[in-house]
Protein backbone atom coordinates (compact mmCIF):
# COMPACT_ATOMS: atom_id res chain seq x y z
CA UNK A 1 0.00 0.00 0.00
CA UNK A 2 2.85 2.37 0.77
CA UNK A 3 4.28 1.86 -2.70
CA UNK A 4 0.97 2.97 -4.20
CA UNK A 5 1.11 6.14 -2.12
CA UNK A 6 4.64 6.95 -3.28
CA UNK A 7 3.80 6.33 -6.94
CA UNK A 8 0.64 8.46 -6.74
CA UNK A 9 2.54 11.25 -4.96
CA UNK A 10 5.29 11.29 -7.59
CA UNK A 11 2.72 11.29 -10.41
CA UNK A 12 0.88 14.19 -8.74
CA UNK A 13 4.06 16.25 -8.37
CA UNK A 14 5.28 15.59 -11.93
CA UNK A 15 1.86 16.31 -13.45
CA UNK A 16 1.56 19.54 -11.44
CA UNK A 17 5.03 20.63 -12.54
CA UNK A 18 4.00 20.00 -16.14
CA UNK A 19 0.86 22.08 -15.58
CA UNK A 20 2.73 25.17 -14.44
CA UNK A 21 5.36 24.83 -17.16
CA UNK A 22 2.93 23.95 -19.94
CA UNK A 23 2.55 26.06 -23.05
CA UNK A 24 -0.59 24.67 -24.59
CA UNK A 25 -3.57 25.38 -22.30
CA UNK A 26 -5.42 22.18 -23.20
CA UNK A 27 -2.38 19.98 -22.54
CA UNK A 28 -1.82 21.70 -19.21
CA UNK A 29 -5.46 21.06 -18.35
CA UNK A 30 -5.10 17.35 -19.12
CA UNK A 31 -2.03 17.19 -16.88
CA UNK A 32 -4.02 18.95 -14.17
CA UNK A 33 -6.69 16.24 -14.45
CA UNK A 34 -3.97 13.57 -14.09
CA UNK A 35 -2.71 15.35 -10.98
CA UNK A 36 -6.22 15.55 -9.52
CA UNK A 37 -6.81 11.85 -10.16
CA UNK A 38 -3.52 10.99 -8.42
CA UNK A 39 -4.53 13.13 -5.42
CA UNK A 40 -7.90 11.39 -5.46
CA UNK A 41 -6.11 8.05 -5.17
CA UNK A 42 -4.15 9.43 -2.20
CA UNK A 43 -7.44 10.48 -0.56
CA UNK A 44 -8.70 6.93 -1.02
CA UNK A 45 -5.54 5.53 0.56
CA UNK A 46 -5.92 7.97 3.46
CA UNK A 47 -9.28 6.44 4.27
CA UNK A 48 -11.50 9.14 2.78
CA UNK A 49 -13.43 7.38 0.00
CA UNK A 50 -16.18 10.03 -0.09
CA UNK A 51 -13.65 12.82 -0.66
CA UNK A 52 -11.91 10.74 -3.32
CA UNK A 53 -15.20 10.41 -5.20
CA UNK A 54 -15.94 14.13 -4.80
CA UNK A 55 -12.48 15.01 -6.10
CA UNK A 56 -13.11 13.02 -9.28
CA UNK A 57 -16.70 14.18 -9.77
CA UNK A 58 -16.44 17.86 -8.88
CA UNK A 59 -12.80 18.78 -9.57
CA UNK A 60 -11.84 16.51 -12.44
CA UNK A 61 -15.38 16.49 -13.77
CA UNK A 62 -17.25 19.75 -13.33
CA UNK A 63 -14.54 22.37 -12.78
CA UNK A 64 -12.27 21.05 -15.52
CA UNK A 65 -15.19 20.99 -17.97
CA UNK A 66 -15.70 24.69 -17.20
CA UNK A 67 -12.04 25.30 -18.03
CA UNK A 68 -12.35 23.33 -21.28
CA UNK A 69 -15.38 25.38 -22.35
CA UNK A 70 -13.62 28.66 -21.66
CA UNK A 71 -10.48 27.57 -23.50
CA UNK A 72 -12.67 26.62 -26.46
CA UNK A 73 -14.41 30.01 -26.36
CA UNK A 74 -11.13 31.91 -26.14
CA UNK A 75 -9.81 29.94 -29.12
CA UNK A 76 -6.11 30.60 -28.53
CA UNK A 77 -4.31 29.30 -31.58
CA UNK A 78 -0.79 28.46 -32.61
CA UNK A 79 0.19 32.11 -32.26
CA UNK A 80 -0.46 31.95 -28.52
CA UNK A 81 1.75 28.93 -28.11
CA UNK A 82 4.60 30.90 -29.66
CA UNK A 83 3.87 33.85 -27.38
CA UNK A 84 3.88 31.58 -24.33
CA UNK A 85 7.23 30.21 -25.40
CA UNK A 86 8.67 33.71 -25.72
CA UNK A 87 7.41 34.54 -22.19
CA UNK A 88 9.07 31.45 -20.84
CA UNK A 89 12.37 32.99 -19.85
CA UNK A 90 14.67 31.88 -17.07
CA UNK A 91 14.65 35.45 -15.77
CA UNK A 92 10.97 35.20 -14.92
CA UNK A 93 11.39 31.86 -13.16
CA UNK A 94 14.52 32.27 -11.12
CA UNK A 95 13.26 34.70 -8.45
CA UNK A 96 10.04 32.95 -7.44
CA UNK A 97 11.74 29.57 -7.88
CA UNK A 98 14.49 30.35 -5.37
CA UNK A 99 12.05 31.89 -2.88
CA UNK A 100 9.78 28.85 -3.08
CA UNK A 101 12.71 26.46 -2.61
CA UNK A 102 13.68 28.37 0.54
CA UNK A 103 10.07 28.14 1.71
CA UNK A 104 10.05 24.40 1.02
CA UNK A 105 13.26 23.93 3.02
CA UNK A 106 11.67 25.80 5.93
CA UNK A 107 8.56 23.63 5.74
CA UNK A 108 10.67 20.46 5.73
CA UNK A 109 12.52 21.73 8.80
CA UNK A 110 9.24 22.51 10.59
CA UNK A 111 7.75 19.12 9.72
CA UNK A 112 10.85 17.24 10.83
CA UNK A 113 11.35 19.13 14.08
CA UNK A 114 7.74 18.93 15.29
CA UNK A 115 6.55 15.77 16.93
CA UNK A 116 3.39 14.66 15.20
CA UNK A 117 1.43 11.89 16.92
CA UNK A 118 1.31 8.84 14.72
CA UNK A 119 -2.26 7.76 15.26
CA UNK A 120 -3.66 4.76 13.50
CA UNK A 121 -5.49 5.70 10.34
CA UNK A 122 -8.80 4.16 9.47
CA UNK A 123 -11.60 4.67 7.02
CA UNK A 124 -13.91 7.60 7.75
CA UNK A 125 -16.91 6.85 5.58
CA UNK A 126 -19.50 9.20 4.12
CA UNK A 127 -21.83 8.47 7.02
CA UNK A 128 -19.61 10.13 9.60
CA UNK A 129 -18.86 13.00 7.23
CA UNK A 130 -22.55 13.55 6.61
CA UNK A 131 -23.37 13.49 10.33
CA UNK A 132 -20.64 16.06 11.00
CA UNK A 133 -21.66 18.18 8.01
CA UNK A 134 -25.32 18.42 8.95
CA UNK A 135 -24.76 18.36 12.72
CA UNK A 136 -22.33 20.93 14.09
CA UNK A 137 -21.41 22.40 10.69
CA UNK A 138 -24.89 23.00 9.29
CA UNK A 139 -24.35 26.76 9.42
CA UNK A 140 -21.32 26.32 7.16
CA UNK A 141 -23.44 24.33 4.73
CA UNK A 142 -25.97 27.16 4.60
CA UNK A 143 -23.22 29.71 4.02
CA UNK A 144 -21.77 27.51 1.26
CA UNK A 145 -25.15 27.40 -0.42
CA UNK A 146 -25.28 31.21 -0.36
CA UNK A 147 -21.74 31.37 -1.72
CA UNK A 148 -22.62 29.06 -4.61
CA UNK A 149 -25.73 31.13 -5.35
CA UNK A 150 -23.59 34.28 -5.39
CA UNK A 151 -21.17 32.46 -7.70
CA UNK A 152 -23.93 31.57 -10.15
CA UNK A 153 -25.39 35.07 -10.18
CA UNK A 154 -21.95 36.67 -10.39
CA UNK A 155 -20.78 34.43 -13.22
CA UNK A 156 -23.98 35.13 -15.17
CA UNK A 157 -23.75 38.86 -14.62
CA UNK A 158 -20.04 39.19 -15.38
CA UNK A 159 -19.97 36.74 -18.27
CA UNK A 160 -22.89 38.32 -20.10
CA UNK A 161 -22.04 40.04 -23.34
CA UNK A 162 -23.07 43.63 -22.82
CA UNK A 163 -23.99 45.88 -25.66
CA UNK A 164 -21.82 48.95 -25.47
CA UNK A 165 -24.01 52.00 -24.98
CA UNK A 166 -22.76 55.45 -25.76
CA UNK A 167 -24.12 58.74 -24.66
CA UNK A 168 -26.11 60.58 -27.33
CA UNK A 169 -23.29 63.07 -27.85
CA UNK A 170 -20.66 60.37 -28.32
CA UNK A 171 -23.00 58.39 -30.55
CA UNK A 172 -23.24 61.34 -32.91
CA UNK A 173 -19.47 61.57 -32.85
CA UNK A 174 -19.16 57.93 -33.85
CA UNK A 175 -21.57 58.38 -36.71
CA UNK A 176 -19.59 61.36 -37.93
CA UNK A 177 -16.37 59.39 -37.76
CA UNK A 178 -18.02 56.51 -39.57
CA UNK A 179 -19.29 58.91 -42.24
CA UNK A 180 -15.86 60.41 -42.72
Amino acid sequence: MNVIFYIAAIIAIIATALVITGKNAVHALLYLIVSLLAISLIFFLLGAPFIAALEVIVYAGAIMVLFVFVIMMLNLGKAWEKTERSWFSAKAWIGPGILCIILLAELIMVFCSSAIPSGSTGVIGPRRVGVALFGPYVLGVELTAMLLMAGIVGAYHIGREKKRQYHRYLQNDEEKEGGL
Binding site: M1, V19, A28, L45, L54, A132
Partner: protein, 120 residues
Protein backbone atom coordinates in the same frame (compact mmCIF):
# COMPACT_ATOMS: atom_id res chain seq x y z
CA UNK B 1 -4.64 1.54 5.17
CA UNK B 2 -1.27 3.09 4.48
CA UNK B 3 1.39 3.39 7.14
CA UNK B 4 3.22 6.39 5.68
CA UNK B 5 4.30 8.93 8.26
CA UNK B 6 2.31 12.13 8.39
CA UNK B 7 5.44 14.11 7.53
CA UNK B 8 5.54 12.73 4.02
CA UNK B 9 1.88 13.40 3.38
CA UNK B 10 2.13 16.95 4.62
CA UNK B 11 5.29 17.35 2.56
CA UNK B 12 3.37 16.31 -0.54
CA UNK B 13 0.72 18.93 0.23
CA UNK B 14 3.45 21.54 0.77
CA UNK B 15 5.19 20.70 -2.52
CA UNK B 16 1.92 20.89 -4.45
CA UNK B 17 1.08 24.21 -2.78
CA UNK B 18 4.48 25.65 -3.62
CA UNK B 19 4.21 24.48 -7.24
CA UNK B 20 0.88 26.31 -7.45
CA UNK B 21 2.46 29.37 -5.86
CA UNK B 22 5.29 29.36 -8.42
CA UNK B 23 2.66 29.12 -11.15
CA UNK B 24 0.76 32.12 -9.81
CA UNK B 25 3.93 34.17 -9.47
CA UNK B 26 5.54 33.28 -12.79
CA UNK B 27 2.87 32.75 -15.43
CA UNK B 28 1.49 35.67 -17.42
CA UNK B 29 -1.36 33.83 -19.08
CA UNK B 30 -4.32 34.38 -16.78
CA UNK B 31 -5.75 30.92 -17.53
CA UNK B 32 -2.61 29.34 -16.07
CA UNK B 33 -2.79 31.65 -13.07
CA UNK B 34 -6.32 30.42 -12.36
CA UNK B 35 -5.22 26.79 -12.78
CA UNK B 36 -2.37 27.37 -10.32
CA UNK B 37 -4.82 28.85 -7.83
CA UNK B 38 -6.83 25.63 -8.17
CA UNK B 39 -3.69 23.60 -7.45
CA UNK B 40 -3.07 25.64 -4.30
CA UNK B 41 -6.64 25.19 -3.05
CA UNK B 42 -6.42 21.47 -3.71
CA UNK B 43 -3.14 21.19 -1.81
CA UNK B 44 -4.68 22.98 1.17
CA UNK B 45 -7.57 20.53 1.05
CA UNK B 46 -5.12 17.64 0.96
CA UNK B 47 -3.49 18.93 4.15
CA UNK B 48 -6.92 19.09 5.83
CA UNK B 49 -7.77 15.52 4.83
CA UNK B 50 -4.35 14.24 5.98
CA UNK B 51 -4.83 15.85 9.38
CA UNK B 52 -8.38 14.54 9.63
CA UNK B 53 -7.26 11.03 8.74
CA UNK B 54 -4.51 10.98 11.35
CA UNK B 55 -6.68 12.21 14.19
CA UNK B 56 -9.57 10.01 13.00
CA UNK B 57 -11.94 12.96 12.78
CA UNK B 58 -14.46 13.73 10.07
CA UNK B 59 -13.76 17.48 10.34
CA UNK B 60 -10.93 17.33 7.83
CA UNK B 61 -13.24 15.98 5.17
CA UNK B 62 -15.92 18.53 6.08
CA UNK B 63 -13.38 21.32 5.54
CA UNK B 64 -12.41 19.78 2.20
CA UNK B 65 -16.04 19.90 1.07
CA UNK B 66 -16.22 23.60 1.99
CA UNK B 67 -12.99 24.25 0.07
CA UNK B 68 -14.41 22.35 -2.89
CA UNK B 69 -17.57 24.48 -2.96
CA UNK B 70 -15.51 27.65 -2.61
CA UNK B 71 -13.24 26.56 -5.48
CA UNK B 72 -16.26 25.88 -7.70
CA UNK B 73 -17.72 29.34 -7.05
CA UNK B 74 -14.31 30.99 -7.50
CA UNK B 75 -13.65 29.23 -10.80
CA UNK B 76 -17.04 30.12 -12.27
CA UNK B 77 -16.61 33.81 -11.45
CA UNK B 78 -12.94 33.79 -12.47
CA UNK B 79 -13.64 32.24 -15.84
CA UNK B 80 -16.42 34.76 -16.46
CA UNK B 81 -13.89 37.52 -15.71
CA UNK B 82 -11.41 35.93 -18.14
CA UNK B 83 -14.10 35.88 -20.82
CA UNK B 84 -14.79 39.58 -20.24
CA UNK B 85 -11.05 40.32 -20.33
CA UNK B 86 -10.72 38.50 -23.63
CA UNK B 87 -13.70 40.38 -25.05
CA UNK B 88 -12.40 43.80 -24.06
CA UNK B 89 -8.67 43.40 -24.59
CA UNK B 90 -8.46 40.49 -27.07
CA UNK B 91 -5.72 38.90 -24.99
CA UNK B 92 -5.18 36.79 -21.88
CA UNK B 93 -1.97 38.58 -20.89
CA UNK B 94 -2.17 39.88 -17.32
CA UNK B 95 0.15 42.79 -18.11
CA UNK B 96 -2.53 44.43 -20.24
CA UNK B 97 -4.66 45.03 -17.14
CA UNK B 98 -2.76 48.10 -15.99
CA UNK B 99 -5.31 50.79 -16.61
CA UNK B 100 -5.41 51.83 -12.97
CA UNK B 101 -1.82 52.97 -13.39
CA UNK B 102 -1.21 56.70 -13.83
CA UNK B 103 1.10 56.33 -16.78
CA UNK B 104 -0.04 53.32 -18.75
CA UNK B 105 2.60 51.29 -20.52
CA UNK B 106 1.69 50.77 -24.17
CA UNK B 107 0.02 47.39 -24.70
CA UNK B 108 2.07 44.35 -25.51
CA UNK B 109 2.99 44.05 -29.15
CA UNK B 110 4.27 40.49 -29.15
CA UNK B 111 1.03 38.75 -30.01
CA UNK B 112 0.08 41.04 -32.87
CA UNK B 113 3.57 40.81 -34.30
CA UNK B 114 3.51 37.04 -34.16
CA UNK B 115 0.07 36.94 -35.71
CA UNK B 116 1.29 39.12 -38.55
CA UNK B 117 4.20 36.73 -39.01
CA UNK B 118 1.83 33.79 -39.12
CA UNK B 119 -0.46 35.52 -41.57
CA UNK B 120 2.32 36.65 -43.89
Amino acid sequence: MIQVSMHLELLLAAILFLLGLIGVLVRRNILFVLMSAEIMLNAAGLAFVVAGAHWMQAEGQVMFIFILAMAAAEVSVGLALILQMHRQHKTVDTRVLNQLKDDPVPPVKELTEIQEEVNS
